[in-house]
């Protein structure tokens, strides 16, 4: 590869051709501020509109300043990143941006984790010239069950558009109007609820300000906890324990399972359970369904549709219901772990505890925003009482703990309560791309072949970061063909193959978020640092490796649950409590054609 020699702030260096000034400077330890620019290297995700102009630098011989995020280095280039001209320009541009931004930092949900606020601090903006005559854009607040859009705070960085359109191919958002009036909204400035939005929350995950935030349910949770009538139980998704520590200054990839459990107990939850338990349950049902379809297909049943698609991810469910309604019979009918947990908690466990359904409150802690919407779906309610009452994100849990004077670092390790807190390594890896299908494979293999995997429970071919992965697993002579996609744009490609009749897979795992749940829209903000996500994933696999039991069907409490209550996998009771059906939501569009 060609290399290029250049000088940045009097230091010479060599970089490969195609390197931008921003990246070259980084190599020298020069941290040029960027605002709209965002890069998630591992997935080729880059937001580079060159719009904020904060990252400008002086390039000798060039008449104007160059945006370092998008200007490639040239041989002999002389770059200065900190001249008075550059610093004045940066601050003035920042003043422009702030002049059209609300100043309610103190009460803003993003305060403290806002890229714009940090940048204002860094650039030393102290006042905004002629603020009294500066018009500020105002729009109406849009509240959905999962996401709040307060686009007064939009700075047109376009990251949400990149995620929604290019990465997720959902197409819910677009820049509209032009000039000062331009802003990012759904079509016709409708609410998100009326748009094709899947609530995957990737827009929230990358928004530098509070233009896009999660709908916060912590107040409702506090109210439930303080109500003596209510038995409040909590479930925590696998990806939460691998990320929560970041909110308390721990290094990415820190596993905080035990500390999280003790925090929840201290917060006053009556029982602290684990969604991983329900993940094991999902594997039993979904695994049984896979085997059933495979067997029927092998026996020549032409009504069987293959591949079977996983259904744990609510963003993904929303996606196919809207964009591929004709495929709605293909995904597994198994409910997601969150919902399986809810229905088991409010039946089996409520009966066990002798608590009336209406007096039991189920809270879930999720890395996900779509879970908030999922929990409110009508099909997951009994007499209008939802199986899961409130779904809060990892970030919301951290806020809750901070409000309750807890420092995660200082908490002791504790164990989940039984029975719904006991899980296997298979349940844990649900939190990362490839994990669900690996968990399913562990169980399906043993049930199909009748042989034990013994210690060889890991399937390396299912792991990795590629957006679309293909793998084959030898089921004792039968080759199970598996597809894996994370990110809805990648999912779309696999779905289009199915539509065209070209798909050769038996089973496909899909997770809506890049990286899977560890990269969910409710997780601590990664601020464009993809390595954080990798470390979370490693933590999850570490937790799996450390588990005594690593196959879902060996979870003793799952066995007990079937024996005591559910009967057989795919049986009548299981069907009623653990399965669901899907709807054609393409008709959700406002204007019927």
């Amino acid at each position: 590869m060609d290399t290029i020699k250049l000088t940045i702030d009097q230091q010479e260096l060599e970089v490969p051709a195609g390197t931008t000034i921003y990246h070259a400077a980084k190599k020298l330890g020069i941290d040029i501020p960027v605002l709209c620019y965002m890069e998630l290297e591992d997935w080729n995700i880059e937001n580079k509109p060159g719009g904020c102009r904060i990252c400008v630098v002086e390039v000798e011989g060039r008449h104007n300043l160059a945006p370092s995020c998008s200007t490639e280095c040239k041989d002999g280039m002389v770059v200065k990143t900190n001249t008075p001209r550059v610093m004045n320009a940066r601050r003035t541009v920042m003043e422009f941006i702030l002049s059209d931004h609300p100043k309610d930092c103190l009460t803003c949900p993003k305060s403290g984790s806002c890229d714009l606020q940090d940048m204002a601090v860094r650039l030393g903006v102290r006042e905004i010239p002629n603020e009294d005559i500066a018009e500020i854009s105002t729009y109406r607040l849009d509240t959905s069950p999962a996401i709040i859009r307060d686009i007064d705070k939009c700075i047109m960085c376009r990251r949400c558009e990149t995620m929604c359109n290019d990465v997720q191919t959902v197409g819910a958002l677009s820049a509209i109007n032009r000039g000062f009036e331009s802003v990012v909204t759904p079509a016709f400035e409708m609410n998100l609820e009326a748009s094709p939005c899947t609530y995957c929350g990737q827009c929230v995950a990358v928004c530098p300000t509070a233009a896009l935030t999660e709908k916060d349910y912590t107040a409702e949770v506090i109210r439930a906890l303080s109500d003596p009538e209510k038995t409040v139980i909590v479930q925590t998704a696998p990806a939460v324990r691998a990320a929560l520590g970041e909110e308390f200054g721990m290094e990415a990839g820190s596993l905080v399972t035990g500390k999280m459990v003790s925090a929840l107990r201290k917060l006053g939850f009556d029982k602290v359970f684990d969604t991983d338990f329900a993940a094991d349950l999902t594997i039993i049902e979904e695994g049984a369904e896979i085997l059933d379809r495979l067997k029927r297909s092998a026996n020549g049943d032409e009504n069987v549709r293959l591949p079977i698609l996983t259904s744990c991810c609510p963003g993904w469910v929303n996606f196919f219901e809207y964009h591929f309604p004709n495929l709605k019979d293909i995904p597994s009918s198994a409910r997601s772990p969150q919902q399986m947990f809810g229905s088991v908690a409010k039946t089996y466990f409520a009966e066990k505890m002798n608590v009336k359904r209406e007096n039991m409150v189920v809270v879930s802690v999720m890395p996900c925003l779509a879970k908030k919407y999922e929990s409110q779906r009508d099909e997951f309610k009994v007499d209008n009482n939802p199986d899961v009452d409130y779904s809060i994100s990892t970030r919301e849990l951290a806020h809750l703990m901070k409000q309750a004077n807890m420092n995660l670092n200082k908490l002791p390790d504790e164990d989940f309560d039984k029975p719904l807190g006991e899980s296997t390594g298979a349940g844990v890896i649900f939190g990362t791309t490839g994990g669900v299908i690996e968990a399913a494979t562990r169980t399906a293999y043993e049930l199909y072949t009748g042989k034990s995997l013994n210690e060889k429970v890991t399937f390396e071919q299912l792991r990795g970061w590629e957006g679309i992965r293909k793998a084959e697993v030898d089921f004792d002579g039968f080759t199970l063909k598996i597809g894996i996609a994370h990110g809805l744009g990648n999912a779309r490609k696999l779905l289009e193959e199915i539509e065209e009749g070209k798909s050769t897979y038996h089973a496909i795992e899909i997770m809506a978020c890049p990286g899977g749940c560890i990269g969910g829209g409710g997780q601590p903000l990664h601020h464009g640092n993809a390595s954080i996500l990798k470390k979370r994933s490693e933590a999850i696999y570490r937790e799996d490796a450390g588990k005594k039991i690593r196959k879902s069907h060996e979870n003793p409490y799952i066995k007990e649950l079937y024996e005591e209550y559910l009967g057989e996998p795919l049986g009548e009771k299981a069907h009623q409590l653990l399965h669901t059906k899907y709807f054609d939501r393409s008709t959700k569009r406002q204007f019927k054609i």
Partner: protein, 163 residues
């Protein structure tokens, strides 16, 4: 952009589909499709954009993003007598602003509005290339040159008794 709610009839939908088909359902032809559709319907309400979105397989958000970007596209129907004032530089220098003010007063309309009876609408446009006649006012296709504020009433009176 303000819009009006409409209920599309089947033959309207067929017309839109026909236009999309004539452009091979190419997403890249979006702007040409919008031009032809607006030419036919006079404006582009959300309902029409939605049909185009499905036919061309372009997200409705994008269609709306494009429609609101270009000043030629409108989501409200123009009046039967659309009044446009040229606010190009030549017309500005020769007093177009005062003419515009007078028209606003006479029609009781702001720029971008259509009168309740659908008769008049008022818009500004940039340079019609008749700078020799500045300031210029158009009513429909008819051009009025060297318009002074005092002439405005006379121009509008020409349309008073028309439907």
């Amino acid at each position: 952009m303000t819009s009006v709610k409409v209920k599309l009839k089947q033959n309207d939908i067929d017309k839109i589909k026909e236009i999309c088909a004539a452009h091979n359902y190419e997403p890249g032809e979006l702007i040409n499709v919008l031009h032809q559709t607006q030419e036919y319907f006079g404006y582009l309400p959300a309902e029409i954009q939605e049909v185009i979105s499905w036919e061309l397989n372009v997200s409705a958000a994008k269609v709306y993003g494009v429609v609101t970007f270009y000043s030629y596209f409108t989501m409200t129907p123009k009046g039967r007598y659309p009044v446009s004032v040229c606010t190009g530089t030549a017309c500005y220098v020769r007093g177009a602003e005062n003419v515009l003010e007078e028209i606003k007063k006479q029609l009781d309309l702001q720029v971008g509005e259509t009168s309740d009876d659908g008769k008049y609408s008022l818009s500004c446009l940039r340079c019609v290339g008749a700078c020799g006649l500045a300031p210029v006012v158009l009513v429909g296709d008819k051009t009025y040159g060297r318009v002074a504020p005092d002439d405005v009433k006379g121009i509008i009176d020409e349309y008073k008794d028309k439907d």
